[in-house]
């Protein structure tokens, strides 16, 4: 673990989720520190997305708990929060970047409206200021200012992902969840997006949980890695340590299966 002395931002303990008779994920414990990027890797069906859903409180676990250190410094049990508090957390201190931008954006609303929504939800009522803030965030994610009034359905896949990130970043979250953020994008677009995310992590001290099946993404972005299989976290550790010297046979298989360029 990194610097055991400082207080983690989020502590998950024994998260277990069943879908009827099927196991989603079992007994997963995880700590996330401020400014830290944790990658969750594994094959499809290994419980990655379930874990992300649990951590972001969009799913309720059968057992286990999550404590989160709020902006006021107080650690709270997330599943004991009221729904209003949880929603507030999700749209201020947290972000969620979906693989499918349609889930994270309002496709019928302009780019500016998408970015401004969170600001309006926390009480901004000055059109000029909302627009200026939206413009500055579009610029930061490399979307031209003159696209501010265009709808995301006129945007390319890469732009949609970047718009999603701007929409999440506008309230300066401390923790962002990403579900395969580079899925379905071509390699050069992926690279730019990864650069952007890395930049935000450095500039804003953002912590992130990134679910990916792409070990290259994990290596490039994350400090720590969680390898999942059959709903369990089978190996955790520093990213380069796990990827360069995998201990578990399954992790070895996973690492060995990367095509060497």
């Amino acid at each position: 673990m990194i610097a055991p002395a400082d207080h983690p931002l989020l502590v998950a303990e024994g998260l277990t989720k069943h879908y009827g008779p099927h196991l989603g994920c079992a007994d997963v414990s995880l700590e996330i520190h401020e400014g830290e990027v944790v990658a969750v890797v594994g094959e499809s069906g290994s419980g990655k997305s379930t874990l992300l859903g649990l951590l972001s409180t969009q799913l309720l676990p059968n057992s286990g708990s999550i404590r989160y250190r709020m902006r006021d410094g107080e650690a709270r049990d997330l599943f004991a929060l009221g729904e209003a508090e949880r929603r507030f957390l999700l749209r201020t201190d947290w972000g969620f970047v979906h693989q499918d931008a349609r889930l994270g954006l309002r496709m019928g609303v302009s780019a500016g409206g998408n970015v401004g929504e969170r600001l309006m939800a926390v009480g901004w009522r000055n059109y000029g200021r909302i627009r200026a803030e939206a413009e500055s965030w579009l610029e930061r994610v490399e979307i031209a200012r003159d696209r501010i009034d265009d709808r995301p359905d006129t945007f390319s896949g890469g732009m949609r992902q970047r718009l999603q990130i701007a929409k999440n970043m506008v309230t300066r979250p401390r923790l962002i969840f990403m579900d395969e953020p580079t899925g379905g994008l071509d390699v050069s677009v992926q690279a730019r997006l990864l650069d952007l995310i890395r930049g935000f992590v450095n500039d804003y001290g953002l912590a992130a949980v990134i679910v990916t099946h792409d070990l290259a993404v994990a290596r490039l972005l994350s400090h720590r890695i969680v390898v999942m299989r059959h709903g369990r976290a089978i190996e955790t550790g520093l990213t380069d340590q796990v990827l360069d010297d995998p201990r578990e046979p399954y992790t070895q298989l996973l690492v060995a299966s990367i095509l060497q360029a």
Partner: protein
Amino acid sequence: MSDAASYNFAYLDEQTKRMIRRALLKAVAIPGYQVPFASREMPMPYGWGTGGVQVTASVLGADDTLKVIDQGSDDTTNAVSIRKFFERTAGIATTTHTSEATVIQTRHRIPEAPLGEGQILVYQVPIPEPLRFLEPRETETRRLHALEDYGLMHVKLYEDIARHGHIATTYAYPVKVDGRYIMDPSPTPKFDNPKMDMCPALQLFGAGREKRIYALPPYTKVVSLDFEDHPFEPTKFDRGCALCGSEGIYLDEVVTDDRGGRMFVCSDTDYCESRRAEATEGGHALHEVPR
């Protein structure tokens, strides 16, 4: 034997009226909150005021005087047939004068003459949910209301300004009721929004197809949503009524021929008629009616 004898008073059976009154009481207790009710099949198609008619039927008493307007007018088909419907089924008095009415059913206008205590204004509502076009899921919009999560509503106004340079919504302009619920004032022109605020009359809203009732008790604070730098502005007209000369009222455009001739007249026919009657009594000449 009168026609009324073959129906229960005001068409609906007493159990239904009690059910609707219970919904109304709840709606009055929680201003702006949409109360579900078991809307009945009425002898008219949805979209013709089935919600309003059921609310009216439930609040009418034998000594009430009913006025019905459709876009401000007492003499359009919808207004005339609903008025006749209650004349036949309730045998109550009807009027076209705003000041004489105790119950006014309206489709999309608030009369120009100020309403007073003891009057009831019943709105016909097609789509009661102000967030509907932004969020199609009813389960989600209910949750948004419950949690007072209203950022979305301002997104719509934001989009208006981004696209048109100003808030282009001119009717069904969303309002916040008593500092809590966001409410669709039914498709009344935004010109009428200020009249809802602190109105001495009881305002009831019925949506028959959507099976919702909501209400504004007398003297409820009703604020039209806006931005600090784009404040709410009611529609203004640069002219007066071509018939009665009134200004500062809501005007209808009437096409008078097929060569582009048109005139602007009061949308509220009762208001226009009373103004003209006053003018004749006072010895003023009537305005020329353009041919």
